[in-house]
C-alpha cells in the first residue's frame, strides 16, 4: 500500500517533469535547426518560387516585364532549337551514365583485389573528381585543339587512326568529346561508391557459391550484382540529375556548339537569360530540369525507404 502510494506520488511528480523535459528538447531542436532552415528558406525555397514566377513573365534584362502565363513554355516546345537541346541532354545523360556505370563497375572490381600500392592507386584515380572541373576541362580543350591536339597525336602514333579527328569542330565528334570528358570526371565517383559497396559483401557468400561449383562469371551475376543493386541505384540516380543539369563541361569545351550540337538545358538557359537577356524564357528553360529532379527524388526515396 505504502509502496503504491509512493510510486503514485513519484509518477505524479515525474510526469510534468518529463513533459517539461520533452518540451525543452523540442525547443532546443527548433532552435538548432532554425539557422539552417532560415538560410534554405531565403536562398533556396524563395528563389524556387521566384523561378516559377519569372518563367511566367516576359522579363528581359533591366525591365520587370509582364505576366504571360505559360507562353514561354509553349514557345519553347515549338522551338526546334529547344527540342534539339532536350534531345542532346538525353543523349549526353544516358550515354555518360551508362559509360560511367559500366567502366566504374570494372574499375571497382579491379580495385577490390590485392595489389601493391593499392591505396596510392585508389587515391590517384580519384583526382579527376577532386580538381576544379573548369580548370581540368580547360586542359581537355587544349588536348582537343584543332592544330595541336595531343589526343590525335597519340592516336596517330599508335596507328589507331589514319586522319586527324576534328574533335570540337564537328557536331558528331563534339558530342563524343563532351561525353568523354564527362565520363572522365564522373568515373571516380562511381568507382569509389561501387568499391565501397563491394567491400561490404561478405567473403563467405563467394566461398559458398564456389563450393557449389559456381564459375567467376556466375559469382558476379548471382552474388555481386544483386547485392550491389541498392548502391548502383543510388549512384545512378545521383549521377543522372548531376549530368542532366551539368553546365561547365559543355560551357567551356564547346559552348553548346558547333551549331548547337552540344547545347544542353543549363547552357541554353545561360545563353538565353544572361547573354541574350531574355530572363523569363531562360528561367523557363531551367525549370525543365525540375521534372528530372522530381523523378530522381522519388526514385531515391523509394530505394532508401526499402532499405
Amino acid at each position: 500500500m505504502r509502496v503504491m502510494a509512493e510510486t503514485a506520488a513519484r509518477y505524479a511528480h515525474a510526469r510534468p517533469r518529463a513533459s517539461r523535459f520533452l518540451r525543452h528538447e523540442a525547443l532546443t531542436g527548433y532552435a538548432m535547426i532554425s539557422p539552417a532552415l532560415f538560410l534554405l528558406a531565403v536562398l533556396l525555397a524563395y528563389p524556387f518560387v521566384l523561378a516559377v514566377y519569372i518563367s511566367l513573365t516576359d522579363r528581359v534584362l533591366g525591365e520587370p516585364g509582364s505576366f504571360v502565363w505559360i507562353r514561354n513554355f509553349v514557345k519553347l516546345l515549338q522551338d526546334p532549337l529547344f527540342r534539339q537541346t532536350v534531345w542532346n541532354s538525353f543523349v549526353y545523360t544516358v550515354s555518360t551514365v551508362f559509360l560511367k556505370l559500366s567502366l566504374g563497375l570494372i574499375l571497382a572490381l579491379l580495385l577490390n583485389q590485392e595489389f601493391p600500392c593499392r591505396n596510392l592507386v585508389r587515391g590517384a584515380l580519384l583526382l579527376p573528381w577532386i580538381v576544379p572541373t573548369s580548370l581540368s576541362v580547360l586542359t581537355w580543350l587544349w588536348m582537343f585543339d584543332s592544330l595541336f591536339s595531343v589526343v590525335n597525336y597519340l592516336l596517330l602514333a599508335l596507328g589507331l587512326i589514319s586522319r586527324k579527328i576534328p574533335w570540337l569542330g564537328d557536331p558528331f565528334w563534339a558530342m563524343i568529346s563532351v561525353i568523354i570528358v564527362n565520363t572522365w570526371r564522373g568515373l571516380p565517383f562511381f568507382a569509389a561508391s561501387l568499391l565501397a559497396g563491394l567491400m561490404t559483401i561478405p567473403r563467405e557468400l563467394y566461398e559458398a557459391a564456389q563450393s557449389d561449383g559456381a564459375k567467376p562469371l556466375a559469382c558476379f551475376w548471382f552474388v555481386t550484382l544483386p547485392l550491389l543493386r541498392p548502391v548502383i541505384a543510388v549512384v545512378v540516380l545521383f549521377s543522372t540529375i548531376w549530368t542532366f543539369a551539368d553546365f561547365q563541361i559543355v560551357y567551356i569545351l564547346t559552348h553548346g556548339g558547333p551549331v548547337n550540337a552540344t547545347q544542353i538545358f543549363a547552357t541554353m538557359a545561360y545563353d538565353v537569360a544572361l547573354v541574350a537577356g531574355r530572363i523569363g524564357e531562360g528561367s523557363a528553360i531551367s525549370l525543365f530540369l525540375f521534372p528530372a529532379l522530381l523523378v530522381v527524388i522519388i526514385g531515391l526515396l523509394h530505394y532508401l525507404r526499402r532499405e
Binding site: L40, Y46, S134, L135, I252
Partner: protein
Amino acid sequence: MRRRVHRGLKRILGLYLPLAAFLFFALFPFYWMTISAFKANRELYNLQAKRLWIEQPTLEQFRELFRKTAALRWLWNSFVVSALAAFISLTLGVMAGYALARLRFPGAEAFGLATFITYLVPTTLLFIPLASVVQRLGLSNTIWSMVATYPTFLVPFCTWMLIAYFKSIPRDMEECAMIDGCSRAGALVRIVLPVAIPGIVFSGMFSFTLSWNEFVYALTFVSATTQKTMSVAVPTELIRGDAYFWGELMAASLVGSVPVALLYSFFMDYFVSGLTAGALKG
C-alpha cells in the same frame, strides 16, 4: 612451373593491364597540364619538338601569369570564399545534424527529408532567380555573393553527413555526461564533437573543395576581375577573344588545382573513409 607462369600472365592481363589503362586515362590530362605549363611558347607550339616531354623547362609562363594578371588576388578570393563558406556550413550543419540525430521534436523527420532533397537540387536550376536575390541583398559583383550562396548546397551536404556520424555515437555517452551535471550544450561540445571529428574534418574539407571548384554561381554573380575566384577567372579572364595563351592557361590551371590536390593528399584517409560512408548512406 607452367601453372605459375599461366597465373602470372592472367594477373597481368586481368589486373595490371586494365588498371594501367584506367590510370593513364585518369592522369594523362594532369601530366599534359603540367608539362604544358613548364614549356616556353616556342617549344609549346613547335610540332617538331618532343610532344610528350619538356626539352627546356622554364618558369616563364608562371612569371607572366603573376606579373600580368591578378592571379594572386583570385587565389586569395578562392581561399577566403571557400574557407568562410565551409565554416558557415559546418557550423549550421553541426547544429542541424545534431538536432536531427538526437532530439525528438515534431517535424524533425520532415526537415531531415527536406535537407536530403535540397542536397540534390542542381545549381543550374536556380541560378537565374538567385542572381536577382543576390542583387537585392546588395551582394552582386562581390565575393560575398558566393560566401552567402554556397552554403545552400553545402549545409544540406554537411547536415546529411553529420547525421550519420552523430547517430553512430552511442547515446549513453552523452547521457552519462548529462547525469553528471553537464548541460546539453556542454555534452555536445565535450563529448559528441570530439568523437565526431573524422566526420567534421571530412565535411569541412569537402565543403572547402566544393566551394573552390564551384563555377555556375561564381560565373553568374561576379563579373568584376578583382572579385573572381580561380575557377571562374582562369577561363574568363585569360582567354581574350579568340586568342588562347595555352602556356599561361595551363600554368594557371595548375596553380588553381594544386591547393585542393594537396589538401586532398594530406587528408586522403578521411576522404576515402568519408566518401565510402557517404556513398553507402546515399
